[in-house]
Amino acid sequence: MVELRLYLAQRISAAIMAPLVLVHLGVMIYAIQGGLSADEILARTRGSLLWGGFYGLFVIAVAVHASIGLRNILSEWLQLRGLLLGGLCWFIGLALLAAGLRAVAAVVGG
């Protein structure tokens, strides 16, 4: 049932990210006017539980979603299988999770 679990994890993480992506697109289009600055971004995110929770959830969902999506590409286009495929995808997922949470901490932390 591994296939089914991966399939569901990817679809559920996609559903979770749907509203998050919409908000993110909105924020990007709003924020890009007049250029990006550390000031502007940090003023919004620093110390904010809301943005911390928002982006934290986003990172977790994307780590799951992207690693499973890449798994399809690695197995279908590069013909990877077995432990190499599984190991690589776990690595990608965990790396994205670590780097992503670090980025969230960076903009939310003081």
Partner: protein
């Protein structure tokens, strides 16, 4: 004698170990089909050409080949509809091993059909009354919509997931499984769902819809597979199913 127009036809020749294209000059005829072309070549140009056909009227699916890179029933493909600059390229069906020239080995196609539990399993005998099934109930409609498959393997040849994943059961087998899952007389719904939602099962479909685009019977394996995905997902959500199947 009227000077006939000719078409340049490239035909793949070879076997499992390899091969290449041979070129033939074939006289053009009115209402000529690609099967007519292949038959002309075998009768007048090279009798060693191997190919398959049976009914030659679009009912059996035996004459399926790649015509200019698209899988078609050659008996139902008019030359003047598909040739470009009086050129035609004919190859054996994609994704299946070649036996010789234009005849491919359909064994794996049928093996996957079996692996997908593509056969009906009832429990009633002639002693029981005939099952009363309304033709308009949703499940029967779904089964009927998928039931006209004649195993020509055009969808199998069109599917890139079949190409990329050797375990993938393929559109035809999964389409059949879907029609049986909607048959209320069948007794192996649970086992069949297991068979089609594991490795190489319905979850591997990426909805490219090549199958639905090229099916000569206008079937929709993509839709059938989407139905199987829904069945698999909702079965999984039920704890009892999870306990029984891990």
């Amino acid at each position: 004698m009227q000077d006939l127009d000719h078409i340049q036809v490239k035909v793949w020749r070879g076997d499992a170990s390899g091969g290449g294209f041979a070129e033939f000059d074939v006289p053009q005829q009115p209402a000529q089909t690609v099967l007519d072309v292949v038959t002309w070549i075998q009768r007048h140009a090279d009798s060693s050409l191997s190919y398959r056909f049976a009914c030659r009227v679009g009912m059996c699916g035996s004459c399926a080949m790649m015509v200019n890179g698209i899988p078609r029933w050659t008996c139902r493909t008019h030359v003047n509809k598909v040739m470009r600059d009086k050129r035609l390229t004919i190859e054996p069906l994609r994704n299946l091993p070649v036996i010789k020239d234009l005849a491919c080995d359909m064994s794996e196609f049928f093996d996957k059909w079996k692996r997908a539990e593509g056969q009906f399993s009832g429990k009633d005998s002639r002693q029981q009354p005939v099952a009363a099934i309304s033709p308009v109930e949703p499940a029967r409609r779904a089964a009927n919509a998928a039931i006209e498959c004649i195993n020509c393997a055009i969808c199998y040849a069109a599917c890139d997931v079949v190409k990329w994943n050797p375990d993938y059961l393929g559109p035809a087998a999964l389409n059949r499984a879907w029609s049986l899952q909607n048959d209320s007389r069948d007794r192996r719904h649970d086992e069949r769902l297991q068979a089609v939602s594991g490795d190489g099962g319905c979850l591997s479909c990426h909805s490219q819809q090549g199958c639905a685009s090229y099916c000569p019977n206008e079937l929709n394996p993509t839709g059938s597979i989407a139905g199987l995905k829904k069945m698999a997902a909702s079965a999984f959500m039920k704890k009892k199913y999870r306990e029984r199947h891990g």
